[in-house]
């Protein structure tokens, strides 16, 4: 097909190109990535579905406003280098975002092609094309280091090396400021490393992005717990001119039901951190253990719950039950993640809620008692409120369970920097446009501000914050 000759009608007739995936029966026995990626022919076909709309509703749906028509046009023309460079003008982590962004709620939601078919699933597969361009560059070795402006002598501290922190580091460094990223754990990447599993986001991608930052001249300090190793005020004393706080959600919520401190009961954070960051799936080659359970229950219905459930399968569980108190329609997880989980054999137990965990004499969890639920009137979130059905209690035999009902905000920075205002949930209060906090020179973004959100929203905040920090450092005006 010759791209330029296609009419709109012809473009609309091209069906969306599915991305090949590892077979579900095979992939539950490995930790390799599930979707394999487009080849050049697939990318060409998919990119030809784009109508190159002038008003580009896709761009408006993107938190970092990637020039989507332009990068797709470059793929049609086979100019992959131009394509990836176009993306990287506004997004420093395209290989990450192409994999983990909820495109169906963002760029692809407004896509005219999807609208024409009255089906968002038939929108141009922007995320998959983004991944194609990013992977193309990755296969060619090191990325091009962007132009760094002459040194300003100003110093910026970035607290946390997750998606928000990495974005700020790149955008501030490009302006010629000196940047140090402080990471509490022994490896940088934040949730991209400890949280999102290898089969959804290979760690080599994250490590490569961090290396790219270092090649840009950004200093990354691991094992540095801001709030403990040094406070924000001490960072200013050491000569930093601005600080960006992006410490993440990072304080797991539990259900407050009896038995929750039994052995084998994990927060999703702990389970995923053991499995991902600490490589517990290769125990005893790696030292960190994790319960090798046959029957695992996961409580929750978000993306993290899906990650935990799919991880449990890969750690050898025979039965993984995902227990969620509402119905499938209310699940906050991406449709694609739910689909992948079901394909792999995760058993969905909907409209059911755990009320008690029962253990043995050694303190290990052995059963979960649940109650059936029905949907009542809509609650504050607009979703129908789940109401327990009296007398419907039942038990399920388990030997591990994972609580994936969300996170509160991490207290380390707010607790040691009282002049940074927080809201009643402990999230740092930051201006929507500039991400300024109540403390001069301190900005904040990502989950510490948003609560538990997404990688791309964190990056979107990072971009805005970096812009504001660059202005602040240039003008000195707060």
């Amino acid at each position: 097909m010759e791209a330029k000759n296609l009419t709109t009608k012809e473009r609309l007739q091209i069906p969306p190109v599915a991305m090949p995936e590892q077979d579900p029966r095979e992939r539950v026995r490995n930790v390799s990535e599930v979707p394999i990626g487009y080849d050049a022919a697939m990318a060409l076909t998919e990119s030809q579905r784009c109508l190159q709309c002038k008003n580009a509703p896709c761009v408006k749906g993107c938190p970092v406003e990637i020039d989507i028509p332009a990068f797709i046009k470059a793929i049609v023309e086979g100019k992959y280098r131009d394509s990836i460079n176009k993306i990287k003008e506004t997004n420093i982590l395209p290989a990450v975002c192409g994999r983990v962004c909820p495109q169906e709620e963002q760029c692809q939601k407004g896509c005219v092609v999807g609208k024409a078919h009255k089906d968002v699933d038939k929108a141009v597969q922007i995320g998959k094309l983004e991944r194609f361009a990013a992977d193309w560059e990755m296969e060619r070795g090191e990325a091009e280091v962007p132009v760094i402006k002459a040194s300003t002598g100003k110093r910026v501290a970035v607290v946390g090396s997750g998606p928000a922190g990495l974005t700020v580091a790149a955008d501030v460094r490009r302006e010629g400021h000196e940047v140090t990223v402080f990471e509490a754990l022994h490896r940088p990447g934040g949730v991209l490393i400890y949280g999102i599993p290898e089969f959804r986001l290979p760690k080599r991608i994250v490590m490569r992005e961090v290396r790219n930052l270092e090649r840009m001249g950004v200093t990354v300090r691991t094992n540095y717990v801001v709030g403990k190793t040094a406070t924000i005020d001490e960072l200013f004393d050491e000569g930093f001119d601005a600080v960006f706080v992006a410490t993440g959600a990072g304080l797991p919520l539990f259900m407050r039901i009896p038995g929750e401190n039994l052995n084998g009961v994990y927060s999703a954070n702990e389970y995923l951190t053991r499995a991902n960051l600490m490589a517990a799936y290769s125990f005893p080659e790696s030292d960190t253990p994790i319960a090798r359970a046959r029957n695992v229950a996961v409580f929750g219905g978000g993306n993290v719950a899906m990650d935990a459930a799919r991880t449990a399968l890969r750690l050898g569980a025979e039965n993984v039950y995902l227990i969620y108190r509402r119905s499938k329609a209310e699940m906050p997880a991406r449709v694609e993640e739910v689909h992948h989980a079901e394909q792999e054999g995760v058993q969905m137990m909907l409209l059911q809620n755990p009320i008690r965990l029962i253990g043995d004499d050694d303190g290990w969890v052995r059963e979960v008692e649940c109650i059936k639920m029905e949907l009542g009137e809509p609650d504050a979130s607009g979703r129908r409120r789940p109401v327990p059905i009296e007398g419907s209690e039942f038990r399920v035999a388990i030997d591990a369970c994972i609580v994936a009902i969300g996170n509160a905000s991490n207290p380390l920075v707010p607790a040691t920097t009282p002049d940074i205002a927080v809201n009643k949930w402990g999230n740092i209060v930051a201006d929507e446009e500039t991400l300024k906090t109540s403390k001069k020179g301190v900005y904040a973004g990502g989950d510490i501000v948003l609560g538990a959100a997404t990688v791309i929203l964190a990056m979107g905040q990072g971009r805005k914050a970096a812009h504001a920090i660059n202005e602040f450092l240039a003008s000195g005006a707060w």
């Binding site: 040094a230 929750e260 951190t273 053991r274 600490m278 960190t288 253990p289 303190g363 207290p411």
Partner: protein
């Protein structure tokens, strides 16, 4: 990477290690801990800081060889480096003038109780230290504790040194002597802290215990370290490590400490057979 400056075995299974860590040394206060890893495949384990010097930029750890990580750490010496070291973590001990403070250190727990004894002494308290060990050789750091205490009582299980008996016997004796105790700080094996707390509750003496639970990140992110204190679940890493001993559910904590017992054994055996864990 943090360079090891000194290492010395003080009992057959306990060693002290002085490590270069200027930033931690500058910030650390009594009661705080670090998390370390000994190699790239290593586990993250918490260890309480036993001493430190901000001017010279070092901290000291006193470590008992228990599992693979502590075994591997014990094999390192001056000039070598610790792969990862982060801290100081946890809340510092609340130090003020209480009056008479009894510091109870059991076995390896004597090491972390030393900086607390020092700080309590500096705050003007009368400090009585009770040092307990199974046998004479396991009563460590006696000289250092004497230097910072108004009175020292030693107990050994086998009677090879000091009073024959447990640290609780020594507390009972102090009470019997009419000693007015305003605060007890107990650090040692969980079972010791449990029985100290049970005893002091009887006499209504406020009691702090320092918990050393399983941790992964040590910054509040994972919740592996949770304990029941009163009717609440607390995270030892960010809410502790010190809690009101009268409210801690020690039985639950001891079960949680045993969660990975067989895996820990596997790791250690593999290491001893030379299977893995090469220091990088």
């Amino acid at each position: 990477m943090n360079k090891i400056l000194e290492k010395e075995f003080i009992t057959p299974f306990v060693f002290r290690m002085k490590v270069e860590a200027p930033e931690i040394a500058r910030k650390r206060k009594a009661g705080q801990f670090i998390i370390l890893r000994t190699c790239d495949a290593g586990e993250r384990i918490p260890l309480t800081i036993a001493d430190g010097n901000a001017d010279e930029g070092w901290i000291e750890l006193v470590v008992q060889v228990v599992g693979k990580t502590t075994k591997q750490l014990s094999a390192l010496g001056p000039g070598q480096e610790i792969c990862d070291l982060a801290g100081p973590l946890g809340k510092p001990t609340h130090i003020e003038f209480f009056g008479t403070v009894v510091i109870v250190g059991g076995g390896i727990g004597i090491a972390p109780s030393h900086p607390i004894a020092q700080a309590m002494k500096r705050a003007g308290n009368r400090v009585i230290s009770i040092l307990g060990g199974r046998t004479k050789d396991l009563v460590i750091m006696e000289e250092k504790m004497r230097a910072t205490s108004d009175r020292v009582v030693v107990t050994t299980d086998d009677g090879s040194y000091g009073i024959k008996g447990l640290v609780t016997d020594a507390i009972q004796k102090l009470v019997d002597e009419g000693e007015k105790i305003n605060l007890v700080v107990a650090i040692g094996p969980p079972i010791m802290m449990k029985f100290v707390s049970l005893l002091t509750k009887k006499f209504d003496i406020p009691t702090l215990v320092s918990l050393n639970t399983i941790m992964v990140d040590g910054t509040g992110m994972c919740g592996a370290c949770r304990v029941t204190v009163g009717d609440q679940t607390k995270f030892v890493c960010v809410d502790g490590p010190e809690f009101d001993g009268h409210k801690v559910d020690f039985d639950e904590m001891m079960k949680r400490l045993r969660a990975y017992e067989s895996d820990e054994k596997t790791s250690r055996e593999r290491y001893e057979q030379g299977c893995c864990g090469k220091h990088r």
